[in-house]
């Protein structure tokens, strides 16, 4: 049932309008002799049509329309102004303020019923359009979220493919992504950047797909020649990821290229130092080393935590940016909790939670 709010200071007029509307089966008149009370009612209810007299002592029809339109969520509700005035200015002002139609007094019953029916039809259509727009918007949001999730999953699986060659589980890429997000937060980076680093850091070693097995999986120390080949994974990773329009891949390229640079300038591939190294690379460096030292590798046993932390402390200002080390120490309990959780829960669920943004 559509609610037609009728506003006229004359109770006789209201009764006449109500009577005229009686034969419309889908409209129910709600009368008000006070425009102020009518507006108050409209604040709390959702009418489907307004019929308002122009000439009222308390508040004229134009002011009523202006105030009604100012109420939030009431823009698409049609308003018919009833006036005895033939003055063009009144009609023009009413239209400018948001009136949709006019009826001239004395109101003809057939004309009123026809206009009310037409306006209610318009109201119904605009409601349908609004519902459709909301539905479409929700569908687009869902589709976009799905694409973003697929993009993240693809990137994650790519990162895991590279990692898989020298690390059975692939947990390392999840962990260092989560570590990087925490350290970025401790550094006060914006939440968008924290999220970007969380998702991009797992791509740090993507260039290892091009590193030969006999070098990557070698248990003993590398020769100078092998070491030069090993170092190439940074540039190879950058080459794989560069020139993408995706901010995520752009950040991934930056991290792949710079995560083996050292704060003191003794890293590779370009021996950059200090602030020359992108912050993302400095964050990835500490997260990568921390997790690698605590993990078993073909060439080493896992280090105890105390020894690992001593190493990181010793390398502050040498391998690592002291500011990043401070942030790292600030979130250390969280990093250790992540290490335990990811190791304990190793399953598809953890992975999905990672690229589906469910783990912060």
């Amino acid at each position: 049932m559509n609610t037609v709010v009728m506003v006229d200071d004359s109770s006789v007029q209201l009764r006449l309008y109500a009577q005229m509307l009686k034969s419309l089966t889908d409209a129910d008149g709600t009368p008000f002799t006070s425009p102020t009370l009518a507006l108050k009612w409209c604040e709390e209810h959702q009418p489907d049509l307004i019929l308002v007299d122009y000439n009222m002592p308390e508040l004229d029809g134009l002011e009523f329309v202006r105030r009604f339109r100012a109420l939030s969520g009431h823009t698409p509700i049609p308003v018919i102004v009833i006036t005895g005035e033939t003055d063009k200015e009144v009609r023009r002002s009413a239209l400018e303020l948001g009136a949709d139609d006019f009826l001239t007094k004395p109101v003809d019953a057939v004309e009123l019923r026809t206009r009310v029916r037409n306006m209610l039809r318009i109201r119904e259509h605009s409601r349908m359009l609004a519902n459709q727009a909301a539905w479409l918007s929700e569908e687009v949001r869902r589709a976009t979220a799905s694409i973003v999730e697929r993009e993240r999953e693809t990137i994650y699986r790519l990162a895991r493919a590279a990692e898989h060659r020298d690390n059975e589980t692939g947990d390392h890429v999840i962990r260092i992504g989560l570590f990087a997000g925490c350290v970025a937060r401790a550094l006060g980076l914006p939440s968008e950047e924290q999220e970007l680093l969380r998702l991009a850091t797992p791509m740090h070693d993507i260039g290892k797909v091009g590193t030969p097995d006999h070098i990557l999986l070698k248990e003993g120390p590398l020769t100078a020649e092998e070491w030069e080949i090993m170092k190439q994974h940074t540039v190879a990773g950058f080459d794989i990821l560069r020139d993408s329009k995706s901010p995520l891949l752009q950040r991934g390229a930056e991290i792949a290229l710079s995560h083996h640079e050292r704060y003191d300038g003794k890293g590779y591939p370009f021996a950059l130092s200090g602030e020359q190294i992108p912050l993302s690379g400095r964050i990835a460096a500490i997260c990568d080393v921390f997790d690698a030292l605590l993990s078993k590798r073909p060439y080493k046993e896992p280090w105890p935590l105390v020894q690992t932390l001593e190493y990181i402390e010793d390398e502050s200002g040498r391998h690592f940016d002291p500011r990043v080390v401070a942030a790292f120490k600030q979130v250390l309990p969280e990093l250790l909790e992540i290490r335990n959780r990811v190791a304990a829960e190793h399953s598809g669920g953890v992975e999905e939670a990672f690229y589906g943004s469910k783990i912060a």
């Binding site: 200071d9 004359s10 006789v12 006449l16 009577q19 009686k22 005895g84 007094k105 004395p106 019953a109």
Partner: protein
Amino acid sequence: MEAKSLDLSVLVEIFNGDSAGIPDLLEDVSQTVDRIEASLIETCKRQDWPGAGKALHELKGMCASSGCVEVAQLCAQTEAILTAERYRQVPDCLESLRSACGRLRSAIREACADQYQAR
């Protein structure tokens, strides 16, 4: 041709054959006429012409909508006189209007009696 005090066909059309509600509405019309007439006399006595104009406008609107043709026409004429600022003619107009209101009240009483009898 003299205008009718009360053209019931207007209300019959609005009530769409269901005339049971007409007497009740006419009682409301009668009370409103009393109220506005009193206000009109008072404003004219004070020579409050804008106030008189508003009262006339309200009476005209209601009467025109409910088939009270004579009063509606006299209201329109008096409104025109006020707009033209021919205030000397107002007392005569007011007298005509009061007489018409009296006739309307009688017509309403009559119509209501008929309606009640018809029930």
